[in-house]
């Protein structure tokens, strides 16, 4: 989930919509400092959309305030959402063009056809 928050399509193409066919839950050791730091780089709105796209049973607060970024409960939720959901099969879809990038065995394939590259 963390990777999908930084990938983008060719021009503006962010955030990519996620269509998941197979999602896996993995267990990752919690590192509070790491999560707190990584949150600075996260597009929170995009993360909310991703959680919604995947239909995950996690309720994220509407906005992410500075105070929340120190809150343990929130950080643990972010850890879970960012690191413990792996999209094994599915698609990333560009919001501008509708172009689909397949995800297979957890790997997004962002290659373009010759005709798509300007």
């Amino acid at each position: 989930m963390l990777t999908s928050n930084i990938l983008k399509g060719v021009t503006k193409g962010f955030p990519l919509k996620i269509k998941a066919v197979k999602v896996e839950n993995v267990s990752v050791d919690y590192n509070r400092d790491f999560v707190a730091r990584i949150l600075q780089r996260i597009e929170y709105g995009a993360l909310q959309s991703a959680v919604k796209d995947l239909g995950l049973n996690e309720s994220l607060p509407e906005t992410m305030s500075d105070a929340m970024q120190q809150d343990d409960e929130f950080l643990k939720l972010m850890h879970k959402v960012l690191l413990e959901y792996e999209i094994e099969e599915g698609e990333l879809i560009c919001p501008e063009t509708g172009r689909k990038f397949p995800i297979s065995k957890g790997i997004p394939n962002m290659l373009l056809q010759e005709t798509e590259v300007s």
């Binding site: 990777t3 930084i6 990938l7 983008k8 730091r37 957890g106 790997i107 997004p108 290659l111």
Partner: protein, 308 residues
């Protein structure tokens, strides 16, 4: 191990009846247009013997001149990453490695520096599959299939560091390398670093560096000719690699592996030894707007005005 120029490859293929073996033992005959394509050969080598520990790194390696013993077959390859990273720390940084191959370098970097996130990208979905199989348990490390000479799937100024080890010579010429450099400059934040090393084929020793700086957005902070260190690494690894090839590689493929391994006597080794080919590493910094204005000031100012 590195890629050959198309001329060398074509010669090699026509002189011996080359048959592709993949790990699932299915034979495939390359078509005549396939064999001219570097990406075809890269894909082949990337998928061959992909689960063999000794072959997880695909670079030539680097050795200090006082190193003589090759105990760990991947030691010199790790040293090359260490040299390329130089004094730049990856700790807490967002890192992209382009042409990450089998991901062994990525794992080494993640283990030694603890970046916030490290994405390995490669053109070959086969090799990224190897990365996935072997390295999917590392939470800060992820992989993506992408063609860096077309576009990198990252937002502008979103990465702290981009790494590229011994790969640009295979990107398909100046236009592709320049496009790659533009993409690197685009995704790096201002003052972000591009850490690079590669063979520079000789018509001019820093030809590749010229292509990488052509767009004016990447400034060379440091560039070092490490040819002799790479040759030394090839020397000290040559026995181990020769024995490995003889013992484990199918006879039909051995010559090809010898070429790839840059063993003494092969064209790449000889080229470097004789000064016709050089191997450089460099640190590039993404320009900031401040850099640009200093450049303008320097052009306009008189020599007596001090630089900042």
């Amino acid at each position: 191990m590195s890629l050959r120029t198309p001329e060398l490859l074509t010669t090699q293929v026509t002189s011996s009846q080359f048959v592709l073996f993949r790990d699932n033992e299915v034979e495939q005959q390359p078509s005549s247009e396939d064999v001219d394509s570097l990406s075809f050969w890269y894909e082949w080598i990337a998928n061959a013997y992909s689960n063999v520990d000794e072959l997880q790194f695909m670079n030539y390696g680097y050795a200090d001149f006082d190193e003589h013993i090759d105990n760990d077959s991947n030691y010199c390859s790790k040293q090359l990453y260490k040299e390329v990273l130089a004094q730049v720390s990856l700790t807490n940084q967002t890192v992209l490695e382009v042409s990450c191959g089998r991901g062994a370098g990525a794992v080494w970097c993640v283990d030694n520096y603890v970046p916030d996130s490290y994405v390995g990208a490669d053109l070959s979905s086969g090799v990224i599959d190897v990365c996935r199989q072997r390295h999917s348990m590392k939470p800060r490390l992820s992989f993506v299939v992408a063609d860096a000479t077309k576009y990198l799937p990252f937002a502008n100024e979103s990465l702290d560091i981009v790494i590229c080890v011994e790969a640009t010579h295979a990107y398909g010429g100046p236009i592709a390398v320049k496009q790659f450099a533009s993409e690197v400059a685009r995704v790096l934040r201002p003052n972000g670093y591009f850490l690079w090393c590669d063979l520079c084929h000789i018509d001019g020793s820093d030809t590749s560096i010229d292509y990488l700086t052509a767009n004016g957005k990447l400034i060379v902070e440091e560039k070092i000719n490490i040819t002799r260190n790479v040759l030394h690494a090839l020397d000290i690894q040559s026995n181990t690699r020769t024995q490995f090839i003889e013992r484990y590689v199918r006879p039909r493929e051995q010559e090809y592996f010898r070429l790839f391994a840059g063993l003494p006597g092969t064209p790449m080794y000889n080229g470097m030894d004789e000064g016709r080919i050089q191997y450089w590493r460099a640190i590039f910094r993404k320009k900031t707007t401040t850099d640009m204005s200093i450049t303008r000031v320097r052009r306009l100012s008189f020599p007596s005005i001090p630089h900042y």
